[in-house]
Symmetry: D2
Subunit: 375 residues, 4 copies
């Protein structure tokens, strides 16, 4: 029996491998940080035998509530990921599995590797009217990629989409992959109409260092990027620094920042009701967008989500809040579950990569509903 995690976004520490009936593991902290919750490892053992796993330090993880009702994802071929019965008790995350093959990958969610990221980015530059721009470099020396889709023109809206500030929220990049694929589909009327009215600026991965390192929440030096938007620095948060700089250059008429939420078993959005400039017009736009998204897919809902901010009480360091205030524009954090979307649950797969991609494609329908009203 052998456990490995020395691959893209791998994260686990072995405490004890003495027995298949008691495999003891810990999740490693993000570098220079106390956050942890993302795990991704492979076991090599014997197909057909029961294996009992315990993640001992689950209780001290970033969001222990996230373990409640969570089911571990597993894959034999790194392509199809399914769910394993899991329970959270005594502060530990426990799951048993009788694998069909000797090698099994387990992960907090379907991983999205840096190699796939590079493939997505560079394949995209071949699309019509699309430019791939490097804004700068991360602390580990990776490129911060921006895709500009559509040609700027008088009257066209500027729609910014960023994903995966929190690197363990890999669903965010699956979402963007689905969104891009649809946007590039000439036969899709939504995409044709959107590109006639808007230019898209898409950052598929805001945190490539944290992603490759197997972090949950921070970049290479332990910074939570989504608290850096007021005063990002090249030292601690170059990722935000460069994107914010480019936003100030292009302007922003709408912003979606794509995330995953550890606890809530629903897709939802968190808006700008707490920013200072929030007004009736902004609220009306929000309502239109949410209604349109709900009409486009039952994977979206607006009942369950975060508590609303009190007026003026939004955290100004958060991406969506900063953009909303700075550009006086529709600005949302989009949240997807690590568990399932309970309005349309799927016991076998739960929320996964395929549904994330569809959900990202469907957001274009909602954007089309507001694009002409953004200014």
């Amino acid at each position: 029996m052998k456990i490995s995690s020395n691959f893209d976004s791998g994260n686990i520490e072995v405490v004890s491998l003495d027995s298949t009936s008691d495999i003891q593991l810990n999740i490693s902290k993000d570098n220079n940080s106390d956050f942890y919750q993302w795990f991704h490892f492979k076991i090599e053992s014997t197909a057909g035998e029961e294996h009992q796993f315990r993640i001992l330090n689950a209780k001290q993880s970033a969001y222990p509530d996230g373990w409640q009702d969570y089911k571990t994802m597993a894959s034999y071929d790194r392509e199809t990921w399914f769910r394993i019965d899991t329970c959270y008790e005594d502060g530990e995350l426990k799951f048993n599995h009788i694998p069909d093959f000797d090698h099994v990958f387990y992960a907090y969610f379907v991983p999205y590797s840096y190699e796939r990221h590079l493939d997505l980015i560079h394949k995209s530059q071949l699309a019509p009217d699309t430019q791939l721009i490097t804004l700068g470099q991360t602390i580990d020396g990776r490129d911060m990629f921006l895709l500009q889709i559509g040609q700027e023109a008088e009257g066209k809206k500027k729609i910014w989409i960023t994903a995966r500030q929190h690197p363990g929220e890999s669903m965010a990049e699956w979402y963007v992959e689905g969104l891009l694929e649809r946007l590039f589909d000439h036969d899709d009327a939504v995409s044709r109409l959107l590109l006639a009215n808007a230019v898209f600026y898409v950052v598929p991965n805001m945190n490539p260092d944290g992603s490759a390192r197997g972090h949950l929440r921070t970049n290479a030096v332990g910074t939570n990027l989504n608290r850096e938007w007021l005063e990002p620095s090249l030292d601690k948060s170059p990722e935000v620094f460069y994107v914010r700089q480019k936003m100030l250059e292009t302007g922003v008429d709408m912003f979606l920042d794509i995330h995953g939420d550890e606890a809530i078993p629903y897709n939802f959005v968190a808006g700008c009701e707490g920013i200072k400039s929030y007004d009736a017009r902004h609220q009306a736009l929000e309502e239109t967008f949410k209604a349109a998204y709900a009409a486009a897919t039952p994977e979206f809902q607006d009942v369950h989500g975060y508590d609303k901010d009190e007026p003026g009480q939004a955290l100004p360091t958060v991406g969506a809040a900063w953009v909303g205030e700075q550009f006086k524009c529709l600005s949302y954090t989009v949240e997807m579950p690590f568990k399932d979307h309970n309005d349309a649950p799927d016991a076998f797969y739960g929320w996964n990569d395929v549904r994330s991609a569809k959900f990202g494609a469907d957001v274009l329908t909602a954007i089309l509903a507001v694009v002409k009203k953004l200014r």
Copy 2:
């Protein structure tokens, strides 16, 4: 230079092939009928040379207004179909083309062959909870196929979908192909939720004889099936006879009958405002459905379409009217264009097979919006 049409849904008569600059053609009438408008033929000639086509009898066709702003479809490989500049003048349909290859197919719309129909039908029987049922036989001896998707259960709604009563409206079967593909997609939340609440009864082709024969509007003996729903007969309209019989057996809670319209360059639906039992509840359902379809895709709209029937003046022989009255249920004729959907036009392809399939997939979102309110 040679013209052929001896293949599935072929239809043309050559008047003169004396010169590439004056190719004179007529469309053949449906058997035992005066209807004609569907054409589908191949020319074998010389790539790189200009060919000038005239369809001489365009003026006497079923819907001469359909030729206004219509653009002929063409294909070299029978898979990708594009549009050719076309004009309707002096009662003739005229188009010039400098083909890239020696053999070119031209058609009124992207054909959907009987072989593809058989593939679709039988591949579908492998889907979970799906039954393929033969209701009876057409006059030419083809099977009338019904797909039942989902298991009948207390409280589940019965949703019937039929397509291509008018065989030249091939977009109707592309629509059903897209609808079925989505309905069978386990990762699609709309489909999972629908199948939890409804059973689908789908007739992908109501008129296989007319389709294979290259008819526009009628079956093998010249019957317009969509005028037969009050009193179908095994002699003249077995297709309707068998489907109607099965509907009476299963009951119907919602009905969509998929068509193409020769003249109007928009997707739209025609409802039941003219049937006797039409009431506020029926109207509310219609409004909900239409709003949901429009919210799902800009390929649907409700501004352009047929004139509304006066109360009680619906033709009771029409499928959607008969079903609406008989079962007191939501019942629509869905119409797609032969030209383009002018709310999201595409100069190169116009309305086509791919967009029809997407539009059929998108209707499931609209059905989900009403499924619980149908009774």
Copy 3:
């Protein structure tokens, strides 16, 4: 319970459908002929129940020896075909089957439809240096298609390939499909080298009428085309007339005529040892070709096959013999089994469409071995 065969290449007559335990069938004769052996039909019945089939007139079929050790092919989706245990006794072909789905197709071999033929032909015209030529028309009015691949040039050899003179030998067209796909593959060194040294003239279907009609051996008027090469006529054998005419125009340096054999469970070739001009040079070419084909794939062998002709005793009316004599060139009939290739048997699928296509692709390796020696 219902049996149908009214589709492309359908062939069956129902004698009795009284009981699932005794389904009695006959195969229909080719039009205007006594040949029969090809069958292709669909049963609609009940999944999970045993069905016992008898083909009563198997004994009088063209090749009753073909039924020995033959296993019927079956498919639920018209794409994947597998084998059913079958026996030939008391002059009847008998097979039992407990189908997994309600609708099952049975056929003598995997069918290749006219629609697929048209797709293959027209898609091929898009390949580089490829011309699609119509040589003339069949008696039912179908086109006789020739694909010319490669540009004629001084020193290039002319390689002719025809398939399916006998329409029930559908493996012959699967073979050509595989051959063409490889020939069009730029990354394949064999194909690149061949096209530098030869022009291919390919007739994927010599008998489209018989194919669509569900014939075993003859064209629309009952002519066995492979006995017409000395004196074909526009009345009885236009298919041969046109191809032969074109051969005389282009010249032929090598010829392969692709067939299926009902009895012998092996792939093999039948050569020209019986033609008058056969000499040591011709024999050496034959040996080189056969050795190269055997080296390319274990699906070829040269142990089992037809008895050799005595010198000068070849039937001069047969395609391969006529071409061999007329053009003094390497000329082969290629035979594939309806059963299996016993040197590499597969109990579940037997010989099938996929293996036929691979075998057709592999022949290019053997042709490359002789191409420079052909003249």
Copy 4:
């Protein structure tokens, strides 16, 4: 203008980026070694402008003769790689390129990433009768993977295939990918017959550390693995240590070690004529194998290659020599070019990933020719 190489197998050092007309680069040495020749980097600049590249330290690279007639590979999407005109003069490798897109990857050969390696390995474990075994760990902590395909049984031959001891020879892993895909294809007669007669032990990547690091020739600590087979050590060459250990356990009846050669523009093999135990039987096997490979594909030849070893003068530390001597078995080093295979050259792509995969698939035909004679 910006150059990056911080991705899987990246390797370049920028000397000067002052001008698009004089981009000066160096290749980095393998860690702890003087070997270098592999390069892989991306430039971000302006499409449509000419860029002139110079690799300044080409002359001191491992195989300066390799640059003669070499053409640099380039890709916009990381999937399709084509060749760029290149020259070697004044001890520098020079190439000019006017890219079609802003971002261009250049590499010595089509890269094969560690992520793709993990996908290949784990997808393979799902194949019938296939086991994925980890033999041990590399110095950087990666797994040494072995695929065992087929079940061991009395009389079955043990065929070992290893690839990419030299990590910059990425064609070796493309070769194995093609070989495995064919071996898993049930419709392929060669594969069915081979698996009835042999068990395959395949190590798709002997040097995963060097591969990920962008090395040419050595592992993480600078060891040339193909000189370690007499006395491998866990310190310097654990990769060879573990594989050799397993070979001694299973026995070996045939061995292929897959490589690329920098200089020779042909595919070829290097055999065991220089090992002590070489005899007529071994030679006969070699001749049979080479003849079979040449018969299977024109991508193989036996005219060009390395000089033959004098009897007894084989380097005993080389993998193929050690295996040949140890197990008295057929044992080959297979070499593919970085340039092109000049017997079937392709000016646009040269030798590439697709052809490597086909060449790997074709070797199975050659193995089948000897499998029963191996002992």
